[in-house]
């Protein structure tokens, strides 16, 4: 990223007060903008569809989906991997770049973390919906049952269960810790009694004393240092869910890094997709500058290349080795029922983003388009990995097909609506930028309120 000649992380003419106005008033203004209502309504509508689909799922059973034998896994698993991947992007931005002390992170980490939160929530639901008997999901907890039987600790699925548990919990704590001082700021700016009480409780009595700041910095640093390896491990374990099996196309040693690359790629894409419209809608151009977009795009391109490497290795190894099953599966991916998902992943995740190397082309709309393409492409990759290894494996007699039903699609789009609804609530009621971090990176002369007293 040294290649990029540095645009400013923050436009000049800002001081403590302007930051507070930009961040705080967006939360406290009485009038809710029309675009918010529009977006929120759509999101809630899809959430309704999601609830409907889940209700019917619980009543009728997973048979309403397209899954069968041999393809016993379907959308639920693909959606899960997809969502958790998107989530990881936020954690990488807020945790990894905190450790590298990258100033630019301060303007986007709150948005990224919040996105992580709702994406992780959507992800966490999927494995439970996926179960044949969802009401017994708690049997995965490490508690012996009445017969003294424990869960099976050698199963990648159990590893995954613990990974999600740790990841979702840690994400919430990390997010709230970072939010605390800004909640206090909003509390102190609040005018109506309701908001004073609400944010007063939320801020938990934060005063901004030096002692608190020191503890906060140390705690935040520690959590960041823990979140970074955690998110990597979560994705490696998701990769093991597949490579732990012996199926051709799954049983691969490179899946863990492969999955991490893909996850971060989709994460950055989603952040771009959110940040670009938000800086317009919230007039945040001063804080989220071209510099941020350039950086995010650069990382998008980096991940895209890393993923290309994984795709390439994945496609190459079967023909390098002599496992006829691996080869057959790879050929099925090239030409079989689900070839469209395979080539879709290549073109959307690897080929299309490359045009962003041309800086002149980095128009907002084009970046959004590419980013959206990546988000779609990553889902295609997930469903491709799930379905194409299953429907034609070892014994030709057992080869089958996989045809998703309406209910599969409702679960997918419904979960997106649910995550979006959550994110809209965050936009309306919580500070979308980390105000105190922005104040910290203000150039020293402008670190003052508007009127010198």
């Amino acid at each position: 990223m040294t290649a990029i000649e540095p645009a400013p992380v923050m436009l000049p003419g800002q001081d403590l007060a302007t930051i507070d106005r930009a961040v705080g008033d967006a939360v406290l203004r009485p009038a809710t903008p029309l675009w918010w209502w529009g977006g929120f309504t759509i999101a809630v509508a899809f959430t309704g569809l999601f609830i409907l689909a889940v209700e019917y799922l619980f009543i009728a059973g997973v048979g309403i989906w397209g899954i069968d034998i041999p393809v016993a896994w379907g959308f639920a698993i693909a959606n899960y991997v997809w969502w958790i991947g998107i989530a990881s992007g936020g954690t990488i931005i807020s945790a990894l770049f905190y450790l590298t002390q990258s100033e630019w992170r301060s303007a986007v980490n709150r948005i990224a973390e919040s996105m992580t939160l709702f994406a992780a929530a959507a992800a966490a639901i999927m494995p439970i919906l996926h179960l044949g008997r969802p009401s017994f999901f708690y049997w995965l907890f490490p508690i012996p049952n009445t017969m003294g039987l424990w869960p099976q600790f050698k199963s990648p699925l159990l590893w995954d269960f613990f990974a999600i548990l740790a990841y979702v919990t840690a994400s919430v704590l990390f997010w709230f810790l970072g939010l605390l001082p800004d909640l206090a700021m909003v509390r102190d700016r609040a005018t109506t009694r309701g908001s004073r009480v609400f944010y007063g409780i939320a801020a938990m009595g934060w005063t901004g004393s030096h002692r608190q700041w020191r503890l906060h910095k140390s705690a935040y640093g520690l959590l960041a240092a823990l979140m970074a390896p955690l998110v990597i491990s979560v994705h490696s374990i998701v990769g093991l869910d597949f490579s732990g099996g012996l199926l051709p196309g799954w049983h691969s040693t490179q899946f863990s890094p492969f999955f991490v690359f893909g996850a971060v790629l989709s994460g950055f894409a989603t952040v771009l997709l959110l940040v670009i419209p938000l800086r317009r809608l919230y007039r945040l151009e001063a804080f989220i500058t071209q510099r941020h977009l350039d950086l995010l795009v650069t990382f998008l391109l980096l991940c895209s290349l890393l993923l290309a490497y994984s795709y390439f290795i994945d496609a190459l190894l079967p023909f390098y080795g002599d496992d006829k099953f691996e080869r057959a599966t790879q050929l099925h991916r090239f030409t079989g029922d689900w070839a469209w998902s395979y080539w879709g992943a290549w073109s959307l995740n690897v080929v299309a983003p490359q045009i962003l190397w041309v800086r002149a082309l980095r128009r907002d709309w084009l970046i959004c388009l590419i980013a959206f393409g990546v988000v779609v492409g990553m889902w295609l990759e997930r469903i491709m990995l799930v379905a194409s290894s299953l429907y034609e494996d070892f014994l030709p007699s057992s080869w089958g097909h996989y045809v998703p039903t309406l209910w599969d699609w409702l679960i997918l789009f419904g979960s997106a609506g649910m995550a979006a609804a959550g994110f809209f609530l965050f936009l309306r009621y919580l500070p979308v930028l980390a105000a105190y971090e922005l104040k910290e990176i203000l150039p020293p002369p402008s670190r003052h309120g508007e009127s010198q007293g």
Partner: protein, 172 residues
């Protein structure tokens, strides 16, 4: 605590004032700022950093506990023949042990922070200081505790008088 409070509009003045007070031998000073001001570290009392120790301990505990849990459940309490694998196949226990360790450390860090910072606190007397609501926005406050052995209202006032700030006696 109670004593003298000074409200600054800019960080630089605050830091300088804190330095002068420190020179004057005052120890019991607290600053309230809208964002962390690292320059104050040299002049304000520095609590011992026990949070990292706490987090590390929790992590190690989680790791050990995670291994123990799995080993006990799979090899001692209810051993079963799972796919011909040995009951205590430790490599398979690594991921869960790691996740538990991280979860433990993160939770410890979070709870530890709130405990040490004395949060949540429904009532913060300092909040009654007039204009204090801007401490979280664009004002900087210094409070000198009269309980400080070297505290003398006049001296402190005169020191602070040398800076662009509003000095008010502070009684909760």
């Amino acid at each position: 605590m109670s004593g003298l409070a000074a409200e600054f509009a800019a960080e630089a003045a605050l830091v300088e004032a804190a330095g002068r007070l420190r020179q004057a031998g005052l120890r019991r000073i607290e600053a309230y700022t809208p964002y962390p001001v690292e320059a104050l570290d040299d002049f304000l009392p520095r609590p011992r950093a026990i949070l990292p120790v706490l987090v590390f301990a929790a992590g190690i505990l989680g790791l050990a506990g995670g291994f123990l849990l799995q080993w006990y459940g799979a090899a001692v309490s209810y051993p079963l023949d799972i796919g011909g694998r040995p009951p205590a196949s430790w490599p398979a226990f690594i991921p869960i042990a790691f996740e538990i360790a991280v979860l433990g450390a993160v939770t410890a860090g979070f709870i530890g922070f709130f405990a040490l910072a004395g949060l949540p606190a429904p009532y913060q007397p300092i909040a009654l200081l007039p204009g204090f609501e801007r401490a979280s926005q664009d004002r900087f406050f210094l409070v000198v505790d009269e309980a400080d052995p070297r505290f003398a209202a006049a001296d402190v006032a005169s020191i602070l008088g040398g800076f662009p700030c509003r000095v008010v006696p502070w009684r909760p």
